[in-house]
Amino acid sequence: MTKGIFASVLVSAAMAVGLAAPARAEFPEKPVEMTILFGSTAQTIGQLLADLMSKHMPEPVVPVARTGGGGAVGYQHVHGTAADGYNIVWNSNSISTSYHGGKIGFDHTAFQPIAKISVEVPAFAVRADSGWDSLADMAADIKASGAKLKVGASGKGSFTHLSTEAILAAVGLSDMAVHVPYDQGRAPVELIAGRLDAALQWPGQFISHHEAGTLKILCVTSAKRISQLPDVPSCAESGAEGLDLVMWRGLAAPAGTPPETVAKLEEAAKMATESEEFKAAAQTIGFEVDYADHAAFGELIARDDRTIADLMGQLGLKAQ
């Protein structure tokens, strides 16, 4: 605990000194601040990553939570800092959803990608007694009955909501479903209680119930199956043709950060992702370690941004 406070004091002190220091030696000569945008698992992974990166850098990486506004507040903060590598952000697809949803006035081009770290793949679950074994089953049943499908996901414009809509569109149920927004991972409970017909959330929230047989995971939204759930098909296999949506997480700095600084952070991030501790955490927390260098990461961000813009456009959620 005192370590945390001490570190943040160090950071602020270092910042004050840093402003006055004339010539600059080699990066990093003071702690690097990593802004974390969300609580729960995003925060836990971020804290662990910062901890592991610190072992491969002369100065520590300090995780600082700036949650709120669905990531907008944290992006705004890092966007406003100097492009010197001392302020980095633990980012995700939320940069695209925040921008296209009109929450922030700048898009992914305002940031220099450092490295892709991990992906998280949402899972689509239904009640155990639904009798559905695939998305195709579900779609056929709903179309035959004419009743609306109640699907739980996070709030409108969130990544899980967009993924839900993409699945519904792929199986032709866009007009036959009601999106019920939930926060704090309550969707699985509502599903077990029978108030929902289906829910799309992170697998960690479903796995224990899936194993206990209280609900059934139909598919995962990535093109390939995931290591956490080797027996669960992908949504493409299950009836949603061509579906491939994953939530990546990675590190970025304000645009214009010098390449040699980016390279150092990239190297530390790479070492962290290769550690046994990080791999073990991936299994228990429920994400896939998926390192990519800054160039490949940049291409991914741009590609994903177009997909998200299209999706939000179709749903009438695109504000800019």
Binding site: T41, G68, K156, V180, R186, I192, G204
Partner: protein
């Protein structure tokens, strides 16, 4: 039994015990300093728990949680500033008790009540985790909405003199919480096109502003005008409650403990709601309800028992369903995950040993909390010797730091200043602050549950009367508000009549 013994060996090993003790101490300190809360303490502790073994890691987190929950009552009683939102209801009678020179008695009673609530909720959890979890499942959005509206109706009891002023305060609280991004529709509300306002007003920030800032301003005003020195409480003897004192409220404690456990088990509720409901219950069931708000011990016992019972209650959906009920349990969840414990139905089958370790850690945490606090009381009450204006400086610094620490945001510090100044103004015109807190706590949850219920029913409002629990709670709320309105109108009318009579009878008739 073997499992229990093995678990005891692990959970009661020196390292694990030390971790629980350290966590509890840290929790009590963070809970006891106005401005710092145990949610912040837990966020700081999580990274430390990464490198610990499973048992000490769980112990550290649980200790911080429980210590913080109990520690929040210390400033609530001594200074009138709750250390956590859950302790807001404790202020109502705890602070008047301090002013009557009964600070240490109130503190001692509070810690015993807390431990009692926590242990009862633990027993309920051990005995009936499956049953309670199944019952909690029946509480969908419509039922939770009913329960929350019922909770909101207790504003009537807290409104003190004027029902209208109480309602104004409650609505102000509800309004403040609409600022920011609406998580359900993803739209911005009252953000004035800025990014900083998108984060909205944190409940903790609002609480610091409402309770601490007016108190501090008051202290300065008194000091510089040389006004009344009501703060000078000379009697700071450490007077502990006797067993008989505590047994007198035994049935009340038991009822409040069960209430707190039940509320804790329902996702989307939490400590503050349980505390206020328990307070209202204590007042209703008391033989002398008029003494509440003036320093009635039952008014401290009830909320403290209930808010600690929430800790055990909240563990039920957390462990059996994997659902965190509040920010603190969400942090606990990530701490469990990192050690490979995935909460949910399989946890009880795959990791029964760890479940026992969790139970034991909770017991150890409560034992340490009682020890720490009873030993600490004689030190805590020394705070009352510090001149009010000097203490105020310390409080305001801790509040500014605490507000910043929640989200590392300067916006939150400014919010404390702005809301605090407004709160001082409201206090001066006689608008009570406690209903504002109730509005703040319940507002977002009520809105969310109402809208979710309506979406689920596809716009059919009959869902709120169609289910028995929802109908019962809403009926109770209507009953409470109804009788209060009738009573208030009658009081106003009769006051007016006496007034009329007084002005009419210029010439004495008799």
């Amino acid at each position: 039994m073997d499992l229990l013994l093995t678990a005891a060996q692990v959970a009661l090993a020196p390292a694990a015990l030390l971790a629980v003790l350290a966590g509890t101490l840290l929790g009590v300190i963070f809970g006891a300093i106005p401005g710092l809360t145990f949610t912040v303490a837990m966020a700081l502790v999580v990274p430390m728990s990464f490198s610990l073994e499973t048992a000490p890691a769980i112990g550290l987190l649980l200790g911080t949680y429980i210590g913080g929950m109990t520690g929040g009552s210390v400033p609530a009683i001594l200074l009138g500033i709750p250390g956590t939102p859950s302790a807001a209801a404790t202020v109502l009678d705890g602070y008047p008790l301090t002013r009557r020179g009964k600070a240490s008695l109130a503190l001692g009673t509070a810690v015993v009540a807390s431990a009692f609530g926590g242990i009862v909720s633990l027993i309920v959890m051990v005995v009936s985790v499956d049953m309670v979890a199944k019952l909690a499942l029946r509480f969908g959005p419509a039922e939770t909405f009913g329960l929350l509206v019922f909770g909101l109706s207790t504003i009537c009891g807290l409104a003190q003199k004027s029902l209208v002023k109480g309602l104004i305060a409650g609505v102000l609280g509800l309004m403040v919480m609409t600022i920011g991004i609406d998580e359900m529709e993803g739209v911005q509300r009252l953000t004035f096109g800025t990014v900083v306002m998108q984060q909205g007003i944190s409940l903790l920030v609002a609480m610091i502003a409402l309770f601490a800032v007016p108190h501090v301003i008051d202290a300065f005003v008194d000091h510089y005008t040389g006004g009344r020195r009501i703060e000078a409480v000379a009697d700071v003897r450490a007077e502990l409650p006797t067993i008989r004192d505590i047994l007198r409220d035994f049935w009340l404690m038991l009822r409040c403990a069960l209430l707190g456990t039940g509320i804790g088990a329902i996702p989307g509720t939490g400590g503050p709601i349980a505390a206020f409901l328990a307070y209202a219950h204590a007042q209703k069931s008391s033989k002398r309800p008029e003494r509440f708000g003036k320093g009635e011990m039952a008014g401290v016992v009830a909320p403290e028992t209930a808010n600690n019972a929430v800790t055990g209650g909240a563990m039920i959906p957390l462990l059996s369903l994997g659902i965190p009920g509040d920010p603190a349990t969400a942090i606990l969840l990530s701490g469990l995950l990192i050690h490979g414990l995935i909460p949910g139905p399989m946890l009880f089958i795959q990791n029964p040993g760890e479940i026992y370790q969790i139970y034991l850690a909770i017991i150890v945490a409560y034992v340490s909390v009682v020890a720490i606090q009873l030993l600490g009381i004689r030190f805590f009450v020394q705070v009352l010797r510090v001149p009010a204006h000097l203490l105020a400086v310390g409080i305001i610094i801790m509040c500014a730091y605490g507000a910043f620490a929640i989200r590392n945001s300067v916006f939150d510090v400014i919010s404390v200043a702005v809301l605090g100044a407004m709160a001082y103004g409201l206090m001066r015109v006689g608008i009570p602050l406690t209903p504002i807190i109730l509005g703040l706590v319940l507002g977002p949850a009520i809105e969310r549950e109402f809208r979710t219920a309506m979406i689920l029913s596809e716009g059919d409002p009959s869902v709120f009367v169609g289910s028995l629990p929802a109908a019962v709670f809403l009926g109770l709320a209507v009953l409470i508000v109804g009788t209060q309105v009738v009573r208030a109108t009658r009081a106003t009318l009769s006051a007016r009549r006496t007034e009329d009579k007084a002005s009419a009878s210029v010439t004495p008739s008799e």
